[in-house]
Amino acid sequence: MTPTRRIGSIVVAGSGIVGLSAALAFARTLPRARVRLLSLPSEPAAITDRMPCVLPSIRFFHRLIGLEETRLVRQAGATHRLGTRFEQWSASGEPWYHCFGRYGASIGASPFRHQWARMRAEGRALSFDHYAPVTAAARADKFVHPPDDPNSLLTSFDYGLRFDPTLYADVLMTEAIRARVEVISGTIGEVVRTEEGLVDKIVLTDGHSLGADLFIDCAGPDAPILSVVSPEFEDWSTSLPCDRLLLASSSGGTPSPVDVAVATAFGWRMAIPMKSGRISCAAYCSGLSEDGTVERQFVADAAVEAVERVAIRPGRRESWVGNVVGFGDSTVVFDPLEGANLSTAQSAIRRAVSLLPDADFLPALLGEFNRQTRLEAERVRDFIAVHYLASTRTQGEYWSAMAGRQAPASLRHTLDQFLSRGRLPKYDQETFDDDSWLAVLFGLGLMPERIDPTTYRISQVEAVAMMERVERMSADLPAQLPAYADYLAGLVSG
């Protein structure tokens, strides 16, 4: 075995949540490396820094950087996120929930989804989201932590979080400084390359230059460093047509574990309840709708005042080239429906430290990182895109424009399998598990053409009894749970 040169110095560009997450993760992983965090003028289009919703996988990231959830509840305004209530998002207009956790109960060798589809076709089942304890809790605006007791119904719960973006950044900054991350401010003037095509240093407009073994670009969609070595950008606007966001904050309201996403004629609008106040957001496609019209409607519907408009361009560029890696909007942009932006960035950061190369940046290792990261991003794209391309809703200029749009091949594959027989193909990287896909596909009003033949092994009587049992247990649950505001207050006070 030969001794190798480890990465000894790192410059992270961008000190938003993504940049802080990366700096902290690398500083913890490489305690001997010098990590400098370059704070840049704020970039409004870096939406991953601004939409601080995360998926259940956040616990892995927080374990990596050593953050306790309780601390975030107390110091970063964290609230618990069971999922999203979708309104007007299908032909029937019936609201539905996509929550994290297990749906249904398996019976015999036939998955629950097949039994549900069979019973639904026979007119004997409520909508899919009536068969999970977690959606029942969400419907009642309630939350508790899943207990250790494996026999409890509540172990089927899973949850993500949301933070106050400023306070979360403060906590991460405190930790970064404790981990000896050096923070500097400046504006990038020039990116200087080596003869081999690597990045040699960044020269700031004040004349200072920053050299490092590894440069991490978390500076938002312009990707000032990554785009130098990874210029090709793959445009995803066909499957993710929303390229304008409207953002607004308001005060008041009670905390809730449920986000609300309403399909509008122009796209969608979302309300994210925070510990105090809420963040409202709307998304639309500039090629289909006129800015002023959407904004007026948003102000009226969301009851907000100051609205900020942000242009985004969904798509991606290769994440790691030579000695430059990008996280967040510098490498992949999707609209914030389903709140996967920050989790996708933090998942890539975790992957980067677990596939951490040496200072030789071996192509085989970067190749494996890029392969996994690309697959993960594409499947998140597919999951968001399915809300647009496969919805049974047709009303409104946005939705009529979606008719007949071609889905990317991997999503087409999922849709073909699902629509023909309720099956979901298994991909090597999936951010959203089968139950999440099913909640959305069934919620959108899609049904498989065929009932899977394995279902008939279970008698109708047995299947009905199983469905009723799951439904009743789920429906009975919320009455036993505290109101979320009380539960949260208990966590804050300890």
Partner: protein, 511 residues
């Protein structure tokens, strides 16, 4: 769970299984059990045609098949004279004198997210002198010739391994036949003399037997072995030849009486000048065979070598089997699904024959079609099988290619041959970084690749840099504790042979 009359009345898909070996009866039993309302199963086999029956060792996945079919493990094992299998002991592969077990289980425990083998590599470089195998529960049990089923408690060391079986394949097919016939599978004895195609669609409509009997069906499962009566002879689906990477094309099999001493709970694979030989201990005998490349070794040489190698009284004359590595381009064409040897053959080095048949059946049940077969069902099944075959193929080639052996033409050939790009990338990644490409599909996942890479002597140039952040004294202490814990846990397990004998006795006294 019972099928009841109030399920919608349906017109079941008529499934005709052609061939009654291991693959045929597994397919018939699986479909009859899981799809009692949706399929009727008719199996045609000829007593004139024997079972190839090389597949005597299995993979842990087979347990899931038994479980799905509601089969009792102890009963199957007694009927097939089966023993437990914790892995494969590869001898002389990386170089002559080497030995490593590819276990069904993990190595060590990750320390703060850093996979164990990186710590081990680093500690080796720092002067610690031990074997990675000291940290495998499966290997610790195997080397002691003990066995106990794994614990369900994920915190227990004894939950860190799996197991499979070594059984008499010529007894397993009859066992599955009994199972299948009890669940409504109809069996007809006879030799297929003709296959009729629909004049317009080209689908198979019926098979005709020598007796003149004509059997119609909606879906045909070709389990006719290498003869591939439907998928090959009739539908002419081309064969992808993989012998450029897997040159072994013959086996010389020779069962022998069990020698004195313990029954090993693992299979042995010993590299030979012209290929390798297996040793599979069953309850009542030991299966042996020399898998070789006919371009490098004559049948007589192989027979002489196997006769020379066995450790007990021979129970038959050496028998030569011929095969070729490769597979049908598509395993499912029109209304014919090939399962088993008609679909492809990858040599038995990692006991994947039965596994690939099982996989084909499991996916066929998952993608079970209507009478009018949807393209999406067929395409998806073919896609999944492509992944499975390709990944098994790469894993097998690794055993030959990553070697320093230069003592025969055969080893010189496999050591220097060009390997598929997909394997080249995996080797490159591991050689340089100790990392294994991450996949969720395919039978061999990260621990298997680590076992074979390191076992074959592929030492990565670098380990995971995160390992450097750990205090070596703490890592050493954790490793000491783990090694001692594994050894102590294994010591408490019963002797493998005694465990089997006592379980058989329990069944006999209960029945």
């Amino acid at each position: 769970m019972t099928a009841t009359a109030n399920a919608p009345s349906r017109d079941p898909v008529k499934v005709v299984v052609v061939g009654g070996g291991t693959a045929g009866w597994m397919a018939a039993g699986g479909i009859a059990w899981v799809l009692p309302q949706s399929a009727s199963v008719h199996l045609v086999e000829s007593q004139e045609i024997g079972i190839v029956g090389v597949g005597e060792a299995t993979l842990p996945h087979l347990r899931a098949f038994f479980e799905t079919l509601g089969m009792d493990e102890a009963d199957v094992m007694r009927a097939t004279h089966a023993t437990f299998k914790l892995g494969i002991d590869f001898r002389d592969f990386g170089k002559i004198g080497d030995s490593y077990i590819h276990p069904f289980g993990v190595f060590g425990l990750d320390l703060r997210d850093v996979p164990f083998h990186h710590h081990w590599l680093r500690m080796q470089a720092l002067g610690r002198n031990d074997e990675l195998s000291d940290y495998s529960m499966a290997i610790a049990i195997a080397r002691r010739n003990r066995f106990a089923p794994p614990s369900a408690d994920p915190a227990a060391l004894s939950s860190t391994y799996g197991y499979a079986y070594q059984f008499d394949a010529t007894l397993f097919a009859p066992y599955m036949r009994k199972y299948s016939e009890a669940r409504g599978v109809k069996r007809t004895e006879g030799k297929v003399v003709d296959v009729e195609l629909h004049p317009e669609t080209g689908d198979v409509t019926a098979i005709v037997l020598a007796s003149g009997e004509r059997i119609e069906g909606d879906l045909f499962i070709d389990c006719s072995g290498f003869r591939a009566l439907l998928i090959g002879d009739k539908l002419d689906e081309p064969w992808d030849d993989w012998s450029q990477w897997l040159p072994c094309d013959r086996a010389c099999a020779l069962p022998c009486a069990s020698p004195d001493g313990p029954i090993e709970p693992y299979t042995r694979a010993t590299a030979m000048p012209g290929g390798w030989r297996w040793r599979i201990p069953l309850q009542h005998r030991v299966g042996n065979g020399y898998v070789y490349s006919s371009a490098h070794l004559s049948d007589d040489e192989a027979a002489a070598a196997i006769v020379d190698s066995i450790e007990g009284k021979p129970l038959a004359d050496p028998r030569i089997l011929k095969f070729r590595a490769g597979r049908r381009k598509r395993g499912w064409v029109r209304n014919v699904v090939s399962v088993g040897l008609s679909a492809g053959f990858l040599e038995p080095l990692e006991s994947t024959s039965i596994h690939l048949a099982q996989h084909a059946i499991t996916y066929l049940i998952e993608m079970f079609p209507q009478k009018q077969i949807a393209d999406s069902d067929r395409d998806e099944w073919n896609r999944m099988m492509d992944i499975e075959y390709d990944r098994v193929r790469d894993f097998l080639i690794l055993h030959y290619h990553s070697t320093t052996r230069d003592d025969s033409d055969f080893w010189n050939h496999v050591r220097t041959m060009e390997v598929p790009d997909s394997l080249k990338e995996k080797i490159d990644l591991f050689t340089n970084t100790g990392r294994v490409a991450h996949y969720v599909n395919g039978p061999f996942l990260e621990p298997s690749w680590i076992a074979v890479f390191l076992g074959q002597g592929v030492v990565p140039r670098h380990w995971d840099p995160r390992a450097d952040a750990f205090d070596p004294r703490e890592v050493a202490m954790a490793m000491d504790r783990l090694r001692a814990g594994i050894a102590a846990t294994a010591e408490q397990m019963p002797d493998h042979q005694r465990y089997i004998i006592e379980r058989n006795a329990d069944i006999e006294s209960a029945s």
